[in-house]
């Protein structure tokens, strides 16, 4: 427990008032009784001072002096009133006695008080000391606990540190290995880099090999004085590329009796340790810097040895297994690079040929399209004119000679006019189909409701009593072409009112359904419906699924084509005898 050092020392407790009063009354009473009643008529040499000593027990200076005053008053009262004489020497002695005792008692009380005060101070500081001692003991314990923890942690750290050291050693070992491998790879990579850089450029094959040669020599470092890439051309060997301090002297020499021929025939890597010891082999050389040793590996093109890569040294030497590996690897890379270079050249040539072919064909096609367009235009005029005449004359024959014609003849005339009208419709429908397939539409947000209402208003076949067409209000805008949409709507509406059981009034409902980015327009009718098995053929060209109804079989094919040209789709849900629900799905406008 901590002591608050700011609190002042507690004041000495005041002696009890009540006890002082009781002592005063009892002592004064007892003294008065003894002096005035028991020894009232004579003077007894009783010490007045002794009762004052009670104040050494009950240390009240007010009581001390009150008693002293009271006893003095009793002395005075007895001497002056009871004995009736003046103040005697005894009285003076008594008073003096009283005073001395009182003074001594007073001095003692003060001394006691001081001692008491000191004791208190000491006690208090003692308490404080005790408290702080306890605090220190507690802190000490805590410190001890912390020290133990630290010791434990220290141990752990030491352990980890040892582990890390071990790992670091392992990593160092691995790093050293990697560095070694890296150095090897780096040399190969430099060469591959040069190889790849040489690839994309369009150069002659000789120049290409030349580019491969220099990095190849670098790959061998100081162990090679020259390298050459040699190709077999017929019965001769031709130097495609050559690099290094050893000149070959010639650029072509016969295959026969050459070292290259041996290497190609055996199809494996080989070397000649000292050329001077093999006079049977032709190895081109010039005076001065003559090669003394050569390492050669076949260079394959298209899977067969088509040349050699030669590595020369000016000193006779043995070639190591490592050098074998390097030259074989380099040869494989060279083969790949040269083949890919050849393919690239070939591809470029073919591309160029194809390009000109494509533009030629495009021009031809454009001509054909123009011819076709002209052809269909001519058909419109030249085919329709005789039909118009046929229909016209037959109709006039029926009108003008009605009375002279038999029923049979009039039936023939009717058949002529029907056939002519049908032929005309076929022509116009086929023309609008080919037109729709070719035409570029300008696409704008269009209100299908406005187009449909306009259509219903203009054609009595879509109005009561012929038919009941209900168009849902507020059809959303679609992205389309007005003319193309009109073509689609008129075909769908026309079909809806056409294909009904005789005697039924067609009822058509047109409504819209939002499907994300698209709007689907539904055309629901109460017509004869379409059996599911036939639905797949419904949108085909010249498909007439029910021959009891007039038609060319082009209408829905046209709807499909035109809708597709507007980036939309078309479909149907139906069952035979239960009406059809055609839908047209277009981008929302």
């Amino acid at each position: 427990v901590k002591t608050d050092s700011n609190t002042p020392l507690t004041a000495r407790p005041m002696p009890s008032w009540a006890l002082s009063l009781v002592l005063f009354v009892v002592l004064t009473g007892a003294m008065a009784y003894l002096r005035l009643v028991v020894f009232g008529d004579h003077t007894v040499t009783l010490s007045y001072g002794w009762p004052l000593l009670i104040c050494l027990w009950h240390r009240d200076r007010r009581l001390l002096w009150s008693l002293a005053a009271a006893f003095t008053a009793i002395i005075a009262y007895k001497s002056l009133i009871l004995l009736g004489g003046g103040l005697s020497a005894d009285d003076a002695m008594h008073v003096l006695n009283l005073l001395i005792v009182a003074v001594v008692a007073h001095a003692f009380i003060i001394l006691f008080e001081k001692l008491e005060e000191r004791r208190r101070a000491l006690e208090q500081s003692n308490d404080e000391l005790k408290a702080s001692h306890e605090e220190i003991a507690r802190q000490n314990e805590e410190l001890q606990a912390q020290a133990e923890e630290l010791a434990q942690q220290n141990e752990e750290i030491q352990h980890q540190s040892e582990e890390m050291q071990q790992q670091a050693e392992e990593i160092t070992a691995q790093a050293e290995e990697l560095q070694e491998t890296n150095a090897q790879l780096l040399r190969r990579e430099t060469w591959m880099h040069a190889l790849l850089q040489a690839l994309p450029t369009s150069v002659r094959p000789g120049e290409f090999a030349d580019r491969l040669c220099e990095p190849l020599q670098t790959l061998f470092g100081e162990s090679a004085d020259a390298v050459a890439i040699i190709e077999r051309v017929g019965d001769e060997l031709a130097v495609l590329a050559h690099r290094g301090a050893v000149p070959l002297g010639r650029s072509r020499w016969p295959v026969d009796k050459s070292f290259a021929a041996v290497v190609m025939a055996e199809d494996r890597t080989a070397f000649v340790e000292d050329i001077d010891l093999r006079p049977d082999l032709t190895i081109p050389s010039t005076e001065g810097h003559r090669p003394r040793s050569v390492l050669a590996t076949p260079l394959r093109l298209g899977g067969r040895p088509a040349g050699v890569i030669m590595v020369y040294s000016v000193r006779p030497r043995q070639w190591t297994a490592d050098e074998f590996r390097i030259v074989e690897w380099a040869s494989a890379q060279c083969s790949l690079a040269m083949e890919s270079h050849q393919l690239r050249e070939q591809l470029a040539r073919t591309n160029k040929e194809l390009d000109s072919l494509v533009s030629q064909r495009t021009a031809e096609l454009q001509e054909i399209v123009q011819d076709l367009e002209h052809f269909s235009y001519t058909i419109t005029h030249d085919l329709r004119a005789p039909l118009r005449a046929m229909h016209g004359f037959a109709s006039m024959l029926d009108e003008d000679c009605r009375d002279q014609l038999s029923m049979e003849s009039r039936d023939y005339i009717l058949r002529i006019t029907t056939a002519a009208a049908r032929m005309d419709r076929l022509i116009t429908d086929a023309l609008s189909f080919s037109g729709a397939a070719r035409k570029e539409f300008e696409m704008v947000p269009t209100d299908p409701g406005r187009l449909l209402r306009g259509m219903v208003e203009s054609y009595p076949v879509f109005q009561p009593p012929a038919a009941h067409v209900h168009i849902a209000p507020d059809l959303p805008l679609v992205l389309g072409n007005e003319a193309a949409l009109t073509q689609c709507f008129s075909n769908l509406l026309g079909n809806a009112v056409k294909f009904v059981e005789p005697g039924n009034t067609p009822r058509v409902t047109i409504r819209a359904e939002r499907r994300g980015e698209m709007v689907r327009l539904w055309f629901e009718d109460n017509g004869i419906g379409i059996a599911p098995a036939l639905q797949s053929r419904l949108f085909g060209m010249f498909q007439r699924l029910n021959k009891s109804y007039e038609g060319t079989g082009i209408g829905l094919a046209l709807v499909k084509k035109v809708t597709a040209r507007m980036g939309g789709t078309v479909g149907v849900e139906s069952e035979a005898g239960r009406g059809s629900r055609f839908w047209l799905e277009l981008k929302a406008g």
Binding site: Y377, T380, R388, S395, L431, G435
Partner: protein, 150 residues
């Protein structure tokens, strides 16, 4: 517009058409509808221009009066209907001449081109020759009535 009338005092309509049957049907339709106009016909674009320009053999305006309406087929020999239309609109005296394109082509681009070149109207040829009567009726009510013919 100064309109030369024929000897009989009737206004003239020039029908440019290379199909004799169509000309026949048009004449029959005019008769049937009781149109009191003289129907002049030429069978190619070249002749149409010559007629309108009053060049020989059409220089005699009493026999070949300047028409109040030109019915113009598009697919014509020598010069197409569009060429004739372009020529007409290039003539200062013929700016306001009523030219009705009368073609069997229903192509939107033909309609648009005709409108661009200044055609007064575009009528698609009917499927049947007898339906030329409707065209004749339309001419009578819509185009001749406005001109106060007769």
């Amino acid at each position: 517009m100064s309109v030369a009338e024929s000897a009989s005092g009737e206004v003239a309509i020039l029908y440019v058409e290379d199909e004799p049957d169509d000309v026949w049907f048009m004449r029959a339709a005019f008769e049937r509808c009781g149109l009191s106009v003289s129907l002049c016909t030429v069978s190619d674009g070249q002749q149409a221009i010559a007629y309108l320009a009053g060049e020989p053999p059409f220089h005699d305006r009493t026999r070949h009066p300047l028409p109040v309406i030109v019915l113009l087929d598009l697919n014509l020999p020598l010069r197409s209907g569009f060429e004739v239309l372009r020529w007409i609109r290039a003539q200062p005296g013929l700016q306001k001449l009523t030219v009705i394109v009368f073609s069997s082509s229903g192509r939107t681009e033909d309609r648009r081109k005709a409108a661009e070149l200044g055609a007064s109207h575009y009528t698609e040829k009917p499927t049947s020759g007898v339906q030329f009567r409707e065209v004749a009726n339309d001419l009578k009510q819509r185009w001749l009535a406005a001109d106060g013919a007769g």
